[in-house]
């Protein structure tokens, strides 16, 4: 909105004296320098004050008797409304009553069915908490044990990541057979860890990831030296397709892996 339009939108309140003193003085300052707005203000003033557009209230044209009856009519309407409300509740009761008289058998059948349904729901509601309790009661694990499991999962994931990165970085270009003894040994150890962790209470996503990693590690542990290259290529493809390294990184952030853990010892024999 332009400055002129903004000023002009205040003219009505300016004329009627509905502006604050600071707003009033802003308009005064503008009017002092703007002939166009001054003209517009005069036009509006003339229009508002002209007898043609003087606000004449329709209520003034009605006789006092009319207003005396007005409140009484409102009261009458309120009373009618209250009676209607009462009649509605009464008619609802009558309707239910007549329904019971004329359709006694159906009503009994329906109410019996409803009772059975209600009882079934109540029974189910009473039974479900015991099931939940049982589920909760099964693994009685203290918080320190949970922390220990979390730490183990973290370690396992970190070791798995190192192994998978190692596999991904193996140089397969050379035609000579490659030595994967260290990787096989590390995989065997990790399979043991995975089997242990699978029996622990884990969230679904971690359990699924550990399952996927375990399959890769079993493949790697049982690899034959003479067919190592094609198998490793297949495994790499599997790692890539399953987006396993990304999933491990995501899971690691959840388990807060101790950052200073020395993982180089997973290749316990060290590659020579």
């Amino acid at each position: 909105m332009s400055a002129h339009k903004q000023i002009q939108s205040q003219f009505y309140d300016y004329i009627q004296g509905g502006l604050k003193s600071d707003e009033h003085s802003i308009i005064d300052t503008h009017l002092a320098s703007c002939t166009m707005c001054r003209c517009k203000l005069e036009e509006l003033k003339r229009f508002i004050e002209s007898p043609v557009f003087s606000p004449e209230l329709p209520s003034d044209k009605l006789p006092p008797e009319y207003w005396n009856n007005f409140a009484l009519e409102v009261e009458q309407k309120i009373r009618t409304y209250e009676i209607e409300k009462r009649e509605y509740s009464l008619s609802l009761w009558d309707w239910l009553n007549s329904l019971f008289i004329f359709h006694k058998r159906q009503i009994i059948a329906v109410s019996s069915a409803l009772t059975i349904v209600c009882m079934a729901i109540t029974g189910w509601l009473l039974y479900v908490p015991t099931l939940v309790d049982e589920k909760i009661a099964l693994p009685e694990i203290s918080s320190s044990q949970f922390m220990e499991i979390d730490q183990k999962v973290g370690e396992y994931l970190h070791k798995s990541k190192t192994l998978l990165v190692g596999i991904s970085n193996l140089d397969l270009e050379e035609k000579s057979p490659i030595d994967v003894t260290a990787e096989k040994k590390a995989s065997r150890n990790l399979v043991q860890e995975a089997r242990y962790l699978k029996n622990q209470p884990l969230d679904i996503r971690s359990a699924r990831l550990i399952g996927d990693l375990e399959r890769i590690q079993i493949e790697l542990a049982t690899i034959k030296d003479d067919a190592a290259i094609p198998r490793i290529e297949m495994l790499r493809e599997g790692i890539h397709r399953g987006n396993l390294l990304f999933k491990i990184r995501m899971a690691e952030s959840m388990y807060e892996m101790p950052r200073l853990m020395n993982v180089n010892n997973i290749y316990s024999g060290d590659r020579k």
Partner: protein
Amino acid sequence: MMAADEQQLILRVKEGDHEAYRVLVGRHMKHAYNIAYGFLIDHDDAEDIAQESFVRIYESIQSFRGEASFNTWLYRIVTNLSLNKLRQRKNTNHRITNLPHQSAMNIISPPDDTSYQDVKPIIERALHALPTLQRAVVILRHLNGLSTKQVSEILRCSEGTIKTHLHRGMKKMKTQLTEIKDEVI
């Protein structure tokens, strides 16, 4: 903020005092009627809407917490009911081509009020040519003399919006009045 006296009355109405409600109705009935008439330009409809508003107020007075003033609450109900009525009229193809409406107003207007009868229909036509919100602002602010703040509360708009709509509405009214006057002459 509500006057303490009005708060007392509302409390009494909440406790079931019919006399207190009669006083409240007496205080606000003319304003309610004027607002409704501004929108509907029909005595019977305006009367119906004004009375209906008071019945609605009575129905829901228990839930009135006094956050807004009683006036604002009542005028908002009157405005909404009037706008609904206008919508109903539109749906039933009731056009305001038969303005000026002269049934009830002619009967109850003083016989010597010829100048009013001449000018009023022209103003009403000009008013009804405005878009709904502009019309509502002109009716509430100019014809009923409510403050900009009160109008903004009733129509749930900012004060700036009300000022803009009023400015535009008045401008259009002026143009319309000139056009209609030329037509009539």
